[in-house]
């Protein structure tokens, strides 16, 4: 037997067993004879056990007084045993867990919503910046709405007169380029600034004229219907009439964006 085994064995014993140890356990007794340190330790433990046994023996006869017994028996006779308590369900962590679960799911949903809104805003801002950094190309022109009737055309005529002055300069430019002044006939319309843009191919046979720098072309455009000398329009239309009726799209800078032959 090693010293550790000896110590482990003796620590399993209470005071009374410790006092009878060497007499009952030959292995422990043999080790205590061989090992002086263990024998000394055992002697100390046995001395303490003997002292505790002395204390236990000196109080072994102590009991509660008969009045206590009388009081207890009186309580038994008058009250008896109380009925068994119905155990209330203990407040486990389940409701709290469920509540926290709800909050957890809510937090996840809020984070997901914030991410979606963030992505959308980011996309929208990027898209907006791209729009502003790349203005409308010269070949995309506004789609002029066709007048629904002659009455509408007549009603717009007052405004047309006012804007004719604004297109005076482009008209002079056209005169300079074609030699014969085209006559403005009836309609001038202003393209709304943010109206949808359509390409030439999709927009009533307008032909884009690359007469402006895409970086400086403004959004405001005007469509002027005018008669042009047939010689200048022959290349576009192929007709041999004296004049042709054409819609000219003019930007605010006075340059022509595009045109189409109406008749």
């Amino acid at each position: 037997m090693t010293c550790r085994e000896f110590m482990d064995s003796t620590q399993e014993l209470n005071a009374l067993e410790l006092l009878r140890l060497t007499a009952e356990d030959e292995g422990l007794a043999a080790h205590s004879r061989e090992c002086g340190a263990c024998a000394s330790w055992l002697e100390t433990q046995q001395s303490l056990a003997a002292a505790l046994q002395s204390l236990s023996a000196s109080t072994a006869q102590r009991e509660a007084s008969p009045q206590v017994e009388q009081a207890i028996l009186q309580a038994f006779r008058t009250q008896g045993f109380a009925p068994k308590l119905v155990e209330m369900p203990k407040p486990t962590g389940a409701p709290l867990w469920k509540l926290s679960r709800v909050f957890e799911l809510g937090a996840y949903a809020a984070v997901a919503a914030a991410l979606i809104v963030g992505v959308f805003l980011g996309y929208w801002i990027l898209h907006d910046r791209q729009e502003s950094s790349h203005p409308r190309q010269a070949q995309t022109i506004a789609a002029p709405e066709e007048p629904e009737s002659a009455t509408q055309i007549t009603a717009d005529h007052g405004q047309t007169e006012e804007r004719l002055a604004q297109v005076e300069e482009p008209r002079n430019q056209l005169v300079a380029s074609h030699g014969k002044a085209p006559s403005v006939t009836t309609v001038v319309r202003v393209q709304p600034k943010n109206s949808p843009q359509t390409s030439t191919a999709d927009n009533g046979n307008y032909v884009a004229l690359m007469l402006c720098d895409p970086l400086i072309c403004s959004d405001e455009e005007q469509v002027i219907r005018m008669e042009l000398p047939a010689t200048s329009a022959t290349a576009l239309d192929g007709s041999n009439a004296g004049t042709v009726l054409a819609d000219i799209v003019i930007g605010e800078d006075g340059l022509i964006r595009g045109m189409r032959i109406v008749n």
Binding site: S47, A51, V68, F81
Partner: protein
């Protein structure tokens, strides 16, 4: 029983109780001596007063001595004994034998009442001590074990036990003085078996240090004895 009778010395009260007890009932209680605690409780729950009396007489002594050793006060021990059995009357139907022995269960209840009583007495001592300090005649040496343990060694050991921290005092009282098994002590204290072992080992070391100079019979105690663990 009148108030004056309660103040009689114990042997007068014992004589009074012996003379008024019903002899046939005493015989019935003695017949129940071979029943286990759990069987007696079962009978008592069904209204058998003799079974309850037998159970009380079997368990009141250990409960009383446990409280006495823990507190050093006979008054506290009496109060705790009474409270424990009144608790049994209130909650006896809740006892589950599958969770442990009734004896250990009662020790566990007694432990809580001892703790409560000692906290109460400590707070009362704290609140009354300034007044006593003012009057030198009221200041006396506090020696709760002097009248109980006549033997000098026993008194020294008891004082050493009482000076232990509560966790260590409990295991010494239960395992060494009440001779409970470690398993029953663990059930009474509501802790693991290994905790009881380690606390008892530590408590023995502390006791030996305290007793080295105070108890003549233990003058040879060497707490720092050299150990070879080869």
């Amino acid at each position: 029983m009148s108030t004056s009778q309660r103040n009689f010395p114990c042997y007068w009260v014992e004589l009074l109780v012996e003379s008024t007890a019903d002899p046939p009932r005493r015989a019935e209680v003695a017949l129940l001596a071979d029943r286990t605690d759990e069987q007696l409780l079962e009978l008592a729950l069904n209204g058998n007063e003799d079974a309850f009396t037998a159970l009380y007489r079997r368990r009141q002594g250990p409960i009383y001595r446990f409280a006495l050793h823990m507190s050093g006060s006979a008054q506290v021990a009496e109060e705790v004994t009474q409270e424990v059995f009144l608790f049994l009357l209130r909650r006896g139907r809740d006892f589950d034998p599958e969770r442990g022995a009734l004896g250990a269960y009662l020790f566990g209840v007694a432990r809580n009442y001892v703790r409560r009583a000692m906290e109460k007495s400590y707070s009362e001592a704290v609140t009354t001590s300034p007044a006593e300090e003012d009057d030198p005649e009221l200041v006396t040496e506090f020696d709760p074990v002097r009248d109980i343990a006549r033997n000098q060694t026993s008194r020294a050991v008891w004082k050493a036990v009482l000076s232990l921290p509560e966790h260590y005092r409990e295991v010494v009282v239960l395992c060494d003085l009440q001779e409970l098994t470690y398993a029953d002590a663990a059930q009474a204290l509501g802790c693991a078996l290994g905790t009881v072992r380690s606390r008892l080992h530590r408590a023995h070391d502390m006791l030996m240090k305290k007793l080295r100079n105070t108890a003549p019979a233990l003058s040879g105690v060497r707490s720092d004895a050299a150990r070879c663990l080869s």
